[in-house]
């Protein structure tokens, strides 16, 4: 098992899909946040986070994700998640992320709904 988070981004017109691989903890969350803020500064207002290869997230990672969501909402944009494990999906629902960010089962459904 690896603990380091890797992030890759598929940049599209005014939108982006961010792929994460690994543990979303403090370090991993900051990595996502840095990339997300770069994208926001670059004009991205629709950000889809594909967590297909992330199996684990802790409370600090969640709080950072909440901050990212709030920032994006402040900028008039939206953030969505897709491909969550059942455990992470439930975690997001309990921790309130699902109230501010849409959650999709797969990337195709998210891309279609968000018109990315």
């Amino acid at each position: 098992m690896t603990e380091e988070l890797r992030v890759s981004v598929d940049r599209r017109d005014g939108a982006a899909i961010m792929y994460t691989k690994g543990y979303i903890n403090n370090v991993g969350g900051e990595e996502i946040a840095n990339r997300a803020y770069e994208l926001m500064d670059g004009g991205v207002r629709t950000l889809l986070l594909n967590l297909r290869e992330t199996k684990i997230v802790n409370s600090i990672g969640i709080s950072i994700l909440i901050e990212i969501i709030e920032k994006m909402i402040d900028k008039g944009g939206k953030i969505a998640f897709c491909c969550l494990t059942p455990v992470i999906h439930k975690t997001f629902q309990i921790m309130g992320l699902a109230n501010y960010a849409a959650i999709f089962t797969d990337e195709d459904a998210a891309v279609k709904e968000l018109a990315i």
Binding site: M1, E3, N25, N26, I56, I66, V87, K90, T91, M95
Partner: protein, 535 residues
């Protein structure tokens, strides 16, 4: 927009700015929209009581106002305003005007009004932040409880030990905010082995601590100033079946810290759930192994059933009776009959071992014997070739005891080869003789040669071949049936038919054994030359 409106609008950006940049945002607004051009802003920490320097502009300002700061603000401020809301001091703003003109009442009023506005903004924002954090903490506690509940459901239904270990690791790391973790399982030898890990556990992790006597108390243990925690997993009978370890708990401030009491309690609860799950998985694994063994036995039994004679051959002038009772669905006993040129050959063999390995050797023995007989070889040669073949192609510790008898009615003789098998009985002329072993069991040494021995076998003679499952059958007290009982029985039935002798022996063994389980295969072959009809 009116200059004051601009000023307030700029201050209002506070609501959307990160805490770290709030100080400079406020001070910049004051120095830009008032005639004051230097100053410093101190804000009280949201969680603490200390007043900290949040921003300074064109001045020298000591870091902490509350503490014993010896430096003083330079230039000397013209106005110092407390940022206060609902009697709570949230900060202090000191402003200086370095240019000409002096400070007038309008300047003071402007600063006071804006300071009141800022105080309200900061207080509101902090209340909002506290509400959010409270909500987050509430959700987090709910998540912990839900996780524990889910873990109970999830890991209790995950019966594959590999999947289970991964689930345990993910859940533990997530629940404790740890960066590294490990699951150790105890082996039968009592030693703990690292079964799953997360992050780098190569150094500074559990080693000799795993043998710590205090683990036996079942309570969490902390090491390295609380940065590493180990929780024993207690199975049934309070036996420690494993250890969960977590290290480097992340803090909200961005670093790592010691595990707190709440997390240790959580980890203990988690370990209880893990114990149940591991026990379930172990029972499931054992059940699967048992099923696999039963399937193997069933398959082996099928092989053996196909090998053993399905019917007793008919040879004029000879009565044949046989009995085969495997002990465990399948066993290592084998018997066969061959007829060539009116000569009957009967064979009884006992392969070392049980289950599938024994069944496979029986299968090999059966195939080779069939081929050798088909080639027309005599029994001594057959035994010699069989021995060579079995020795060459079978595993090192595989061998079989075997006895073969050939009855030539014309010559009125019985030829036999006994390769390490129990002595068969020969009943002729009202006397009992034995056909003792005169060679090593089949498969022991490659160069062993077997020579057939010949005995007279007149009409009315009987040969009794058996496996050690008959003579070594045990009663409930562990006493064996033994050859003496068998011989005594034969003495009483010297002139009986083959089937009568077989049935008498089988009944006697059954009566002797009683309720005791059958431990070994039992094979019995009785061959009798029909007596000459009395005139």
């Amino acid at each position: 927009m009116h200059p004051i409106a601009n000023f307030l609008h700029e201050l209002q950006q506070l609501e959307r700015s990160p805490v770290a940049s709030q100080g400079s945002l406020i001070l910049n607004a004051f120095t830009r929209h008032t005639r004051f051009d230097a100053g410093a802003l101190y804000l009280r920490d949201a969680r603490g009581s200390e007043m900290r320097l949040a921003a300074k502009s064109q001045c020298v300002a000591p870091e902490i106002l509350d503490g014993a700061a010896e430096d003083v603000l330079q230039p000397t401020p013209n106005v110092v305003v407390a940022l206060q809301s609902h009697r709570e001091a949230v900060g202090v703003l000191a402003l200086a005007m370095r240019g000409n003109g002096g400070v007038d009442d309008d300047d003071i009023s402007m600063v006071r009004a804006a300071a009141g506005f800022v105080s309200t903004l900061i207080t509101n924002q902090r209340l909002l932040q506290e509400t959010r954090e409270g909500e987050f903490q509430l959700n987090y506690r709910l998540w912990e409880l839900e996780s524990l509940y889910d873990i109970g459901l999830s890991i209790a239904s995950t019966l594959n030990i590999e999947d289970l270990a991964e689930e345990i690791m993910f859940r533990m790391i997530s629940l404790t905010n740890a960066r590294r973790g490990a699951l150790y399982l105890r082996e039968d030898s009592g030693a703990f082995t690292l079964y799953r890990s997360f992050g780098d556990v190569s150094g500074h992790f559990l080693g000799r601590e795993l043998n710590d006597e205090s683990l036996r108390d079942g309570k969490p243990l902390t090491f390295e100033q609380g940065m590493l925690v180990a929780v024993p997993i207690k199975g049934s009978n309070d036996a420690i079946i494993g250890v969960l370890a977590a290290a480097e708990r992340e803090t909200r401030e961005g670093g790592i810290g010691a595990f707190e009491e709440n997390e240790l309690r959580l980890l203990s609860l988690f370990a209880n759930q893990v114990a149940i799950a591991l026990e379930n998985a172990r029972l499931h694994r054992e059940a699967l192994a048992k099923q696999a063994m039963e399937r193997e036995l069933e398959l082996a039994a099928t092989i053996q059933r196909d090998i053993l004679p399905k019917s007793i051959p008919t040879v004029e002038g000879i009565e044949i009776a046989a009995l085969s009772r495997p002990a465990r669905q399948v066993g290592g006993d084998y018997h066969a009959f061959f007829i060539r040129d009116g000569v009957l050959t009967a064979l009884v063999a006992d392969v070392a071992g049980k289950s599938m390995p024994a069944a496979l050797l029986v299968s090999a023995l059966h195939a080779v014997v069939q081929l050798l007989f088909a080639e027309g070889r005599e029994i001594g040669e057959i035994a010699t070739e069989l021995n060579r073949h079995i020795h060459r192609w079978s595993a090192e510790n595989k061998f079989a005891t075997m006895i073969m008898i050939s009855i030539d009615q014309e010559a009125e003789t019985l030829q036999f080869v006994n390769a390490g098998h129990n002595p068969a009985y020969l009943i002729a002329g009202g006397k009992i003789d034995t056909l003792k072993s005169h060679g090593l069991p089949i498969g022991i040494l490659p160069q062993t040669r077997y020579l057939a021995q010949t005995r007279p076998f007149p009409a009315g003679s009987t040969a009794v071949l058996y496996s050690d499952g008959i003579t070594e059958a045990e009663d409930v007290a562990g006493e064996e049936f033994e050859n003496a009982r068998l011989e005594a029985l034969l003495e009483q039935h010297l002139d009986c038919s083959s089937s009568t002798i077989r049935d008498q022996i089988a009944d006697a063994v059954d009566n002797f054994v009683g309720e005791a389980p059958q431990k070994d295969d039992q094979t019995l072959v009785v061959v009798r030359r029909a007596p000459v009809p009395s005139s």
